[in-house]
Amino acid sequence: MFLNDDDVNEIIHQLEAGPFEELSLQTSRFKLKLRAKGNGSWTKSIEDFQETNLVNPGQEAADSAKEDTNNTASSAAEKNGHFAVRTPLVGTFYRAPKPGAPDFVEVGSQVNQDTVIGIVETMKLMNSVMAGVKGRVVEICASDAGFVEQGETILFIEEG
């Protein structure tokens, strides 16, 4: 049982019959907050507490066991003071423009500031990631089609 618009409107209708400007109602299943904003206009904030009735539990635990171990080891490149290209966004990293196509860059590739080195897919949008500096790619840290956190290092460039 979850509150719908009709339920909320009925409750508001009853509140309007009296001198009420605010309602806070919490049960074990939901929390409802209604506030009058004048002129018969109201706002609502609803939190439903009911838990998911998962039919096949266990799968979740099995899958979470294989969390990626990326990005933990501090690499040699980082110590050498190379330029780290970081992802501007959280999402899925792709090394190639499309499946089967050659990768944008390999270790050893020469890049300019505006060379595209990969794509990060966030909220279904493909965002090109630029090198940012001129130089040579010395290490690629992010794996193709892997998940990257915002600001995670994708690769290192030796400037020059």
Binding site: F2, N4, D5, V8, N9, I12, K33, L34, R35, K37, G40, S41, W42, T43, K44, S45, I46, E47, D48, Q50, E51, T52, N53, L54, V55, N56, Q59, E60, D63, S64, L89, V90, G91, T92, Y94, P97, K98, P99, A101, I119, E121, T122, M123, K124, L125, M126
Partner: protein, 452 residues
């Protein structure tokens, strides 16, 4: 008679479908990815089945997982919502094989309109004019087609729709690279990498006609104007489309119904048209064989529950209304509220919601899966919800929307709420009937005002 529906979608549309199922007394199971197991839809459904890891390719786009979930749940029907597998023939066929009702068009119809190149062909056959275009199967064919139709042009996903995988190419130099990127997006979003080209008409209005068919009879449920778009993603929709001559509107209704009848269409569908206001004419763009994001504005002006109608025709029932029994009244506007920073080039903004306060009252509808504590994962689109207002005419609907937007408060992620507020106050939108080029101008104007 459908007794148990597997909802194979997420976000606000999953919540929307579950609400109708609850109202009809239909048992529900949600097929959710690992990222959505604690979502509002997952908790609302009677049961929830995990269909795989967060990336859509591994969960919401996996036909086998969805069908397996339906069989496990012993559901007798699957509602695919919009996006994901909603127009996927393989799912429709797999449902047939498994004895499950697919709540949508038939597999043959999905092929006829879901494949956008075939759809163009059928439109021409049914007498609908189309925008010049053609296929782009490889680099050479793309070159040849582009040379034929000229620039600027659009690269569109054959398996697409809803504006995904659609890109503008201004000149020949950008063609190959843009086609490559569009192919990547199409593969990621639809699991179908094919694209085609179409002439870009910059100053048209995007008006669509909602149709509903039972395989024999077909009716229309009026027009929607969706001309406020950014990168072919709709941001605001309204019904009916304002400032169309009665003759043109009627012609659009009849053409859409004619196309649906030609297909012997069964289900809910939308015929998207491009209106050339100067010539007072229109072209076929595509047909969407699914429920659409913007369906609530149509529900508001004709007083129907379109999900309930989808379920009824999927059960094999004849239409419950004749065209004459559909009464249109009033005006409805919908604003899509997205998790994105519209002042920073619309950068997506995933995160966790801390505050979610929405307007309530008569004539206001908020379709959302967002509550305090809700997660907005980076794996899916940025839609947080839709604010829909309904009033007796367009001006009063606009006034209601302006005031309702002021009462919306969302914290935890960036949103485009203030963009909608500014848009609803802009003179051109208030006057009504802007074309698809307008929103870019609006953004430039607001950026300039900020800079001053």
């Amino acid at each position: 008679m459908i007794r148990h529906i597997l909802v194979a979608n997420r976000g606000e549309i999953a919540v929307r479908i579950l609400r109708t199922c609850h109202a009809l007394g239909i048992e529900t199971t949600l097929a959710a990815s690992e990222a959505d197991l604690d979502s509002l839809a997952a908790r609302m459904a009677d049961h929830c089945i995990c269909i795989g890891p967060p990336p859509s390719m591994d969960s919401y786009l996996k036909v086998e997982s969805v069908v397996a979930a339906a069989l496990t749940a012993k559901a007798d029907a699957i509602h695919p919502g919009y996006g994901f597998l909603s127009e996927n023939q393989r799912l429709a066929l797999a449902c047939n094989d498994a004895g499950i009702t697919f709540i949508g068009a038939t597999a043959a119809q999905l092929d006829a309109v879901g494949d956008k190149l075939k759809a163009r062909h059928h439109a021409i056959e049914s007498g609908l004019p189309v925008v010049p275009g053609g296929s782009a199967g490889n680099a050479n064919e793309a070159e040849a087609t582009a040379a034929e139709i000229g620039y600027p042009l659009l690269v569109k996903a054959v398996g697409g729709g809803g504006g995904r995988g659609m890109k503008l190419v201004e000149s020949h130099e950008a063609l190959a690279q843009t086609v490559d990127l569009a192919v990547a997006e199409a593969e990621a979003a639809f699991g179908d990498a094919r694209v085609y080209l179409e002439r870009y008409v910059s100053s048209g209005r995007h008006v669509e006609v909602q149709v509903l068919g039972d395989g024999e009879n077909c009716i229309h449920l009026g027009t929607r104007d969706c001309s406020i778009q950014r990168r072919y993603q709709k941001l605001v929709e309204e019904a009916p489309a304002p400032h169309l001559s009665d003759a043109l509107r009627e012609q659009m209704h009849q053409s859409a119904v004619g196309f649906a009848k030609y297909l012997k269409y069964r289900g809910l569908g939308t015929v998207e048209l491009l209106v050339d206001c100067e010539r007072d004419t229109f072209y076929f763009l595509e047909m969407n064989a699914r429920i659409q994001v913007e369906h609530p504005v149509t529900e508001a002006i004709c007083g129907l529950d379109l999900v309930a109608e989808q379920i009824a025709v999927a059960e094999g029932r004849p239409l419950r209304f004749t065209q004459e029994q559909i009464n249109f009244s009033g005006h409805a506007i919908e604003c899509r509220i997205n998790a994105e920073n519209w002042r920073k080039d619309f950068q997506p903004s995933p995160g966790t919601i801390s505050v979610a306060e929405f307007p309530a009252g008569v004539g206001i509808r908020m379709d959302t899966h967002i509550q305090p504590g809700a997660k907005v994962p980076p794996f899916y689109d940025s839609l947080l919800g839709k604010l829909i207002v309904y009033s007796e005419d367009r001006n009063s609907a606009l006034a209601t929307m302006r005031e309702a937007l002021d009462r919306c408060q969302i914290s935890g992620v960036e949103t485009n709420l203030s963009m909608h507020s500014e848009l609803m106050k802009s003179e051109d939108f208030s006057n009504g009937g802007v074309n698809t080029a307008y929103f870019t101008d609006f953004l430039e104007q607001t950026a300039q005002r900020q800079g001053d």
